[in-house]
Symmetry: D2
Subunit: 214 residues, 4 copies
């Protein structure tokens, strides 16, 4: 099929510090490889992504090469830790910058650059907040053009309150997480291939024109 998956690890920790989220992302990478899907990982915190909502914020902005990788992928898997019950400042920054893609729509169809891609979500946190992170992020990505297949989020969280993180808690052996990472990869690959073979024909421009006549 020649599918490409990009894994975007939105940890707060710069390389080479150990990222819990990376360890769970690596499980997904292994599964993608078994299906002959090429994978690449980016870690936005290692780059100087300027604040803003355009695709290029000028001198010193290290977002454009990351955006190029996003545009080249068929499958996008976002990784995020949980802080204060919600997604990290790093993934929020990445999403804010993806707002710029709305202004790069195809001149004929009006489809945004992320149309035709599929999206999944990987989360680790020491406790509570995974639903909020996944729900908001997958919804935002659906606005940007991604399709969200069933069961494409996987997460590990511990029980209530502060506590050990994924690695230290032995989360790698947690059955629920190990099941759902498999569901995620299976469904992402199936839908990425399906959409690649059957590109979404929707012409947003034409629909806009009809709406204007109402």
């Amino acid at each position: 099929m020649g599918l490409k998956a990009l894994l975007i690890n939105c940890t707060l920790k710069k390389s080479p510090e150990v990222s819990n989220t990376e360890v769970l992302l690596n499980k997904a990478i292994k599964l993608f490889s078994e299906k002959n899907v090429a994978t690449e990982t980016v870690r936005p915190v290692d780059s100087n992504i300027l604040p803003g909502v355009s695709s290029n914020e000028g001198a010193g902005d290290e977002w454009p090469p990351i955006l190029a990788k996003i545009k080249a992928a068929d499958i996008l898997v976002f990784g995020s830790p949980i802080w204060f019950g919600v997604r990290s400042s790093v993934i929020q920054r990445v999403l804010e910058r993806l707002d710029g893609t709305y202004r790069e729509a195809d001149p004929d169809t009006g489809q945004f650059p992320l149309y035709g891609k599929v999206a999944g979500m990987v989360i680790t946190g020491n406790e509570d907040g995974a639903h909020d992170v996944a729900a908001n992020t997958l919804f935002n990505l659906s606005h940007l053009g991604c399709t969200v297949p069933p069961n494409v989020d996987t997460y590990w969280v511990g029980n209530a309150g502060p506590g050990p993180s994924y690695i230290d808690a032995g989360g790698e052996h947690h059955l629920y997480t190990n099941r759902t990472v498999r569901y995620m990869v299976e469904n992402l690959v199936y839908f990425a291939d399906l959409i690649k073979q059957n590109p979404i024909p929707t012409n947003l421009r034409a629909l806009d024109d009809l709406a204007r006549q109402e």
Copy 2:
């Protein structure tokens, strides 16, 4: 194609009281009809849906016939007003009852009854909260087995604070809402047909077995 769409209007108002959400749902119905998709609307507040998380809560429970309609549909469109910034108690009740479908998985594939369906969201509120309603609901439905195509939520909200609702505010002429209801119907129908012709082959049971061996 023979597709069927079920629109589930989770207003707080019993029939025949006028529902703002229904008026926007009716725009979707008109568009579905133009594509030869059969539609049916249910209004859960008119039924006595007992509290609980199973598919049948016993004597007096009027959930089973609604669930049967949900299972028979290819496309599910949930409608909800916004109260206190989040989705209504009626749609929350409906989702709680859908929890029961997890325990009705296909014995061979482990797929839940909502696998293979596509889901969309229609929201009206006099102000703020549509993102929260749509994000949580579409995410919950993706857990239950639904696919979420791009741009399958449409909403109308007024500006900050109390104010007129969709009908009284002339929301029917709001361009953004009229555009997005068209995006929603177009993409729901395309994906419903695509999935019907290419059923999701994922075997959740087999993946569970592999996960147990880790």
Copy 3:
């Protein structure tokens, strides 16, 4: 001081079924009693609370007696389970009905009936979602007039995925939950007493008049 605390258990389970949330609420009740705060518990699912957003929805509506208890209390502690990552349909229904109190403002000060009360939150779920439940509910209550002291939420959740609930998991021995229920009671009682002795003087009507002149 003569303080009264009302605990509102928004479980989905009717009496006498065992409620996990009730067991954690009972810890709070014991601590309130040690401080000579009178307590009473209501379980809304046992009453027929009609859908709507007024304080009385007519024949058969069993909300008015619950509202009367809410108005008579100094301290409100809401209990809720987590379903699909968010608060229960029962607590959402209760909040929708509290919308009616906005229209019962004091004719002189414009203060709503919940002004001067303090609010806390108790949550049990088998996993993830407590932050979302507490954040939305305490925020809604602050709109209705309640003060939210520091550290007035307490919760128990297990780790990722389905699993045993509070009672079966031995959550009663979970240190984080046992600490935070104590923080909650301590700060609720301190602030309830402080506000009772120093009633909030804010005149919302007068502020409205000033805003209208801008």
Copy 4:
């Protein structure tokens, strides 16, 4: 009373670019001044706040001077735009850094540095999301030690979909926003003074000890 209010404008735009949120914050500043409350504004995007969850992330980190101002204030008002339905990456970064204050608890009482402060929230966005931003942020601040009085959030958002922002839309004349900014200032000042005169006596350490004995 000698109260000090710090306004933290978490816009994505660096000075001197015009910030919509700043214009609404300035309304609050004017009202604080009328009550002889000293005010200061910080704009975190102008500083190099390193990613992390401690109070000092080392060389080049410009968070410590902002944290010092936060600790010195009696009243904290956070300002944020809305992006993708939720709070900005800048305010999320600020909150992540405030996580470090949990580890600076008073050795006797265990109270965190933000105990005794009151918090409010100012939001502008071109549409939908204010409830989510305010609910999460005020809840997070209550965990950190702040008290949340009634009606201490104020926001302006336009109706559904992209559109003009606060300034261009004439939001400065929006009655709901002009009323609620007054409610916010009035209640923040009343509670800041009340708590200053009646410091919260709660000994978190002692409560921890009792919980450990359970």
